[in-house]
């Protein structure tokens, strides 16, 4: 009788542990193990790592790691200029720039960290990414020349075209 009760309890335990989740073949993994891949930065700053950087620091890194493609002082080279930009009313094919288009400064940190430099993505340190972000934002006069960018200040930067968007299909939004 006692044995039977244990068996029943065991069976119930097994049932209880599986009922919460569908049967499957995925392997549990911890967020710590995912950390290297978990590089998305949200507009509210969620995901921003520790670190900091100034426009001055960023200018030095830019000259070494970015100017080859984006030109001196980010004025453009074989790849896009990172400074300036015409008003969007110039035409539907106006080149989109950080200053005339990008709604969130966090996107600049996110994309620089995940994709740049083109030939060696994800080799910049977090401090370097903060510094480059600060440099580009300062060149565009979106922040001051001495403003420090970090996880606290970057999400508070208000981009000029922040309110320039219309959701195409509102009914498809969550």
């Amino acid at each position: 009788m006692f044995t039977l009760r244990i068996l029943f309890a065991l069976a119930f335990a097994v049932f209880a542990s599986t009922v919460a989740f569908a049967q499957g073949f995925g392997t549990p993994i911890s967020e710590t193990e995912i950390a290297t891949w978990d590089i998305s930065i949200m507009p509210d700053g969620a995901g921003l790592p520790p670190g900091r950087g100034t426009p001055e620091q960023g200018g030095k890194i830019y000259a070494v790691k970015c100017a080859l493609c984006h030109g001196p002082e980010a004025k453009g080279g074989t790849n896009a200029a990172l400074v300036g930009g015409a008003p969007l009313t110039t035409g539907i094919d106006t080149p989109k720039t950080i200053a005339n288009f990008w709604p969130y400064a966090t996107t600049l940190f996110d994309f620089t960290r995940r994709a740049m430099p083109w030939q060696q993505p994800r080799t910049l340190t977090n401090d370097e990414v903060y510094a480059l972000t600060a440099y580009i934002l300062a060149l565009n006069k979106i922040i001051g020349p001495n403003d420090v960018m970090d996880a606290g200040t970057l999400p508070k930067v208000r981009m000029p075209n922040r309110d320039g968007f219309i959701v195409r299909f509102p009914e498809r939004m969550p």
């Binding site: 539907i92 966090t106 195409r168």
Partner: protein, 439 residues
């Protein structure tokens, strides 16, 4: 009746609209006489009949079978056009030659590809897909693990948000259907429904979006509403029966039937459930078309109802007056194609096209109309409706809402804007040549 069919001549075919468009019934009742009358499109003049002889390839041994088949050497011209053939550090585009293929599936080697930083050379045994964030338990999947789930197959078109962009030019671009519409293709995709995997991870009710990310060097990422993820999103593993092509996401991609190609993240390695969109580079910047008032559309998502004629089209010369088949493809993010109308007089009168069965939702539907060309200049155009009642807008309607360029576009590969789903007009000249016009 059979006697009538045998004696039916092209002159008896019923007119359906101006400039020689015939009733689609001709496909059913025209029989051999109709088939014989269809002259087809040629890249060279048709030879006159002559005495038949045995050709060299009919005498003696044939060529050995290949392990992996490739098209006939005579089909060498049926290839994608490449925007960046040397793989320089910028985006690469390979466009589908719609005028040189037929049917509804795109062969895998001709499926369009856009690769923003080159195709990663992924070892499938090392590849992992992780699902985490606002889930009850994060899970990681190997390709072998995914192979153990129930699979589904479905047809779906995939279209770049920038496909057809040359049609935003204020003057018609002199380009062929491959240059204008080559960034859409259609395949049968087989894989595991994303909802199946999300059932296993569990979903925190706070999750409204997921961020999908690739294993390419850019770690390209896009935000996708959970509503789409739980509706018909698939982790696609097979493309037209074989493993995905490297350019289409090998060994796995996110398939979001009918939605913007860029969102259907290739080389998929991570899905993170979140409570807001990430505003990633490609959603915050690239795939947000500028409007004439200086605002921009955001979260366009849908590839709306569209059609274009592939036969005839620039490069396919009409070989003199006679009966031809006009055909093309139609598709919509909103489900099945319900109707396609075709005009040969620039929109004054329309004939309903025959739709090739079966008509799949969110997939290419081949349409066909018989047409007797009298040899004069005409303008051909198609217009599609989907089962949701959405209709392809006229070019005037699109331009009124979306604008056009101030100067003529000289490079058809340039992206002046995105999400053009208006009509394409082909003018057939008296000499049988076809060119892009606005009508």
């Amino acid at each position: 009746m059979a006697g009538n069919r045998r004696t039916r001549r092209p002159d008896d075919l019923e007119a359906a609209a101006g400039n020689g468009l015939l009733h689609r019934r001709a496909f059913l009742t025209g029989g051999a006489a109709f088939a014989a009358a269809v002259t087809g499109y040629t890249l060279s003049e048709t030879a006159a009949a002559q005495q038949l002889t045995d050709a060299p390839w009919s005498q003696g041994r044939g060529v050995a079978v290949q392990e992996y088949g490739t098209p006939s050497p005579f089909e060498k011209q049926v290839v994608r056009t490449l925007s960046n053939p040397r793989g320089e550090p910028r985006t690469q585009h390979g466009r589908t030659p719609h005028h040189l293929i037929n049917g509804t599936f795109t062969p895998n080697g001709l499926h369009f590809v856009i690769s923003h930083s080159g195709n990663p050379d992924i070892d499938p045994s090392q590849h992992r897909l992780v699902i985490h964030g606002l889930v009850r338990r994060p899970l990681v999947f190997t390709l072998d693990a995914l192979a153990r789930y129930p699979m589904v197959s479905r047809m779906a078109f995939v279209e770049c948000g920038g496909n057809s962009a040359p049609l935003f030019s204020n003057e018609p671009v002199q380009a062929d259907v491959q240059a204008i519409h080559g960034l859409v293709s259609c395949a049968e995709w087989t894989g595991v429904m994303l909802s199946t995997l999300l059932e296993e991870t569990g979903i925190d009710p706070k999750a409204t979006w997921l961020i999908a990310e690739g294993a390419d060097s850019l770690a390209l990422s896009r935000s996708v509403p959970m509503t789409k993820a739980l509706d018909d999103a698939m982790i696609a593993l097979y493309q037209n029966g074989e493993r995905l092509m490297p350019g289409n996401g090998y060994p796995m991609r996110l398939l979001l039937p009918g939605w913007e190609g860029n969102m259907q993240v290739k080389w998929l390695r991570r899905l993170k459930l979140v409570d807001a969109p990430a505003m990633s580079y490609y959603e915050a910047r690239t795939y947000a078309p500028i409007l004439p008032n200086g605002k921009a559309y955001q979260f366009y998502f849908l590839q709306e109802v569209k059609s274009f004629i592939t036969h005839p089209s620039p490069g396919l010369k009409l070989n003199g007056p006679g009966v031809y088949e006009i055909s093309g493809v139609a598709y919509s993010a909103n489900g099945r194609i319900a109707k396609v109308m075709v005009t040969a007089d620039g929109g004054r009168s329309w004939a309903q096209a025959a739709l090739q069965d079966p008509v799949h939702p969110k997939a290419f539907t081949r349409f066909r109309v018989p047409w007797r060309w009298d040899g004069g200049p005409v303008v051909l155009q198609s217009r599609a409706w989907d089962e949701g009642g959405n209709v392809q807008p006229t070019r005037a309607e699109i331009i009124a809402r979306r604008g056009q360029t101030a100067k003529p576009v000289t490079n058809p590969a340039a992206f002046t804007s995105q999400h053009y789903n208006g009509p394409t007009s082909w003018r057939v000249e008296a000499n049988g040549e076809v060119k892009n016009v606005y009508a």
